[in-house]
Symmetry: C2
Subunit: 336 residues, 2 copies
DNA sequence: ATGAAAGCGCTAACAA
DNA sequence: TTGTTAGCGCTTTCAT
């Protein structure tokens, strides 16, 4: 039998209502100091743990938040989740992670499950660019923050790395190495990061004076090694380049494989820059030059915004962008 | 205002109690077919979602299970978690993941949080070999299954890959390549996998007729690249070998780095076998020969055992071992 | 400053 | 087969 509030109250010689007030920091001031002490002591003596379900039933809050990720196995997400979780648990929230497997149906199911669980808020890393289900929940007033994604039309608050600046860093780096024929093997067009980075690429390339024709951008259907390789082959059928900015690290790895398959070597013949700085990309050969995104910070910041919203009713509205940096390794070299 | 059972009952023209019985598959047989239909229809029309807290408060069950992992960023765990989650959600349970960060204190905190949340069961991937907190919860009757770990003294049910057979496969493979001077850079002695694999290594080596002196085993303090490198250096100060069986893939990567730092090349001078077949180890140079563990299956099987325990009261007792296979890649070669 | 009492939404014994 | 009732553990008005 677990210890209930009644037990604590009894031991402290007070009414359960009083014990409740004494235990809750918010209402503690309503109780005399001496009583608070007695109640707290009784609670500790009995190792009392409030029953969150009973509390939730009464207050209509669960202190649980759902975190939607498209694929936990993508090394991108564990740090984000971790960063968020630390911040959330600090604020007294429990994190429920749902892996949507990049599948809209599974996402819908997960969303339903979280809704049924009455989560107080949502951290969403799985949203495609247009996501009805998410938009609807948002419209219904569910506190939520997008992570590593942004929304186009709906004004969903979001926290992401600075994609535009990251791409600019990459292009600038390649320009400084003497490259002018720079291509972009872009991420999927239905994800905000894919679109954003492609857009930034075009802009950077035109500003920095490299050849930036439309021919030099190919799009991957997914963020995967296979798609990176396929798209790179497609690119190289058409044009020849000396440098590639990849939509992310997986695509970069695929690009390097495709190059190799065509008898080209990285970085001797073609330089490649990735995005994200995933674990292990420094162990590849060549070690990958890439843009490092502070993923844990992204998760943490998103969590903070969400907590502010849930606890203080301050709805986040803007997109927060965190600084990124270029990590130069072995996959980029001066133009021969 | 959310739709409650009362609303459904009202619309169906029945008493809430009846509606409850009609909605619950377990008790549905107590209700006339016509009534069931009406209630179900009303529920659908109103988009009724039962309030899990109210239900839980009554039934003392939450249909939530906690999953303790030592480090979500370790690519080992996402597949396990995923496999478990699929199986758990199929059985109607919600998964709460807690990352303990390899820190006993954090583990204790996480365990407390999960206990406070009244989870119905626990999947534990974080247990060190001796874990008081876990053992105590187990003794109190909390349904739990260890994943990827086993317990020594306490008879905790566990699901793991077949470490012994995996190590044997590795050693056999190296023997067939002609190696006799085979070392083991072992995982930590306070983790069951570290101990188990080391034990199996000694046995395999003696059975298969390789030089298996105690000198040929070094231990890492953690499963990390750095420790793998450090321990390998320590090993090579003492002896020279032509093959290394690593405690896991990270250690293998560290070993290869250490070899390189000493002017030795893998696999030309020393062959290296990893363990786990983490993502990306096939992209390293050389691509890593390693033992593939069916992580998703480990998670799924553990979840099934746990569900049986929670739902049917059938406590799992034994350790379940899942088959592993050797994946031969480029880091092993015939003895020159 | 504390006690009394009601009720959050649901289930389960009991009655009919 | 269905309705009635009580109550899970907690918070929160309303009294006192």
């Amino acid at each position: 039998m677990p210890v209930t509030l009644r037990d604590v109250a009894e031991r402290a010689g007070v009414h359960p209502g009083t014990a409740s007030r004494a235990l809750n920091p918010e209402t503690r001031s309503l109780v005399s100091e001496a009583t608070v002490r007695r109640v707290l002591q009784a609670a500790k003596a009995l190792d009392y743990r409030p029953n969150p379900m009973a509390r939730g039933l009464k207050t209509n809050r669960t202190t649980m938040v759902g975190v939607l990720v498209p694929d936990l196995s993508n090394p991108l997400f564990p740090p984000i989740v971790r960063g968020a979780e630390v911040e959330l648990s600090r604020a007294g929230y429990t994190t429920i992670i749902a892996d949507t497997d990049n599948d809209p149906e599974r996402e819908a199911a997960a969303l339903n499950a979280l809704r049924a669980r009455q989560v107080d808020g949502l951290l969403v890393g799985s949203a495609r660019r247009e996501d009805e289900a998410i938009a609807e929940l948002f419209a219904q007033g569910m506190p939520m923050v997008l992570i590593n994604r942004r929304s186009e039309d709906v004004p969903l608050p979001a926290v992401t790395g600075d994609d535009a600046y990251g791409v600019e860093l990459a292009v600038r780096h390649l320009r400084e190495l003497g490259h002018t024929a720079i291509a972009h093997v872009a991420g999927p067009g239905d994800m905000s990061t894919g679109v954003q980075r492609a857009r930034s690429f075009r802009q950077a390339v035109s500003e920095l004076g490299a050849a930036g024709s439309a021919d030099l951008v190919v799009e991957c259907a997914t963020y995967s090694i296979e798609e990176g390789a396929r798209a790179t082959h497609e690119l190289l059928e058409r044009v020849s380049v000396t440098a590639i900015v990849a939509g992310n690290d997986q695509i970069a790895v695929g690009a390097i494989e495709a190059l190799r398959a065509r008898g080209l070597e990285c970085p001797r013949d073609v330089s490649v820059v990735g995005f994200n700085d995933m674990p292990f990309v420094d162990k590849l050969s060549p070690p990958l030059t890439t843009v490092r995104v502070p993923h844990a910070d992204v998760g943490a910041e998103a969590a903070r915004l969400l907590v502010r919203w849930m606890a203080e009713g301050v709805a986040a509205t803007t997109t927060t962008t965190l600084p990124v940096e270029l990590v130069v390794r072995g996959s980029t070299a001066p133009l021969a």
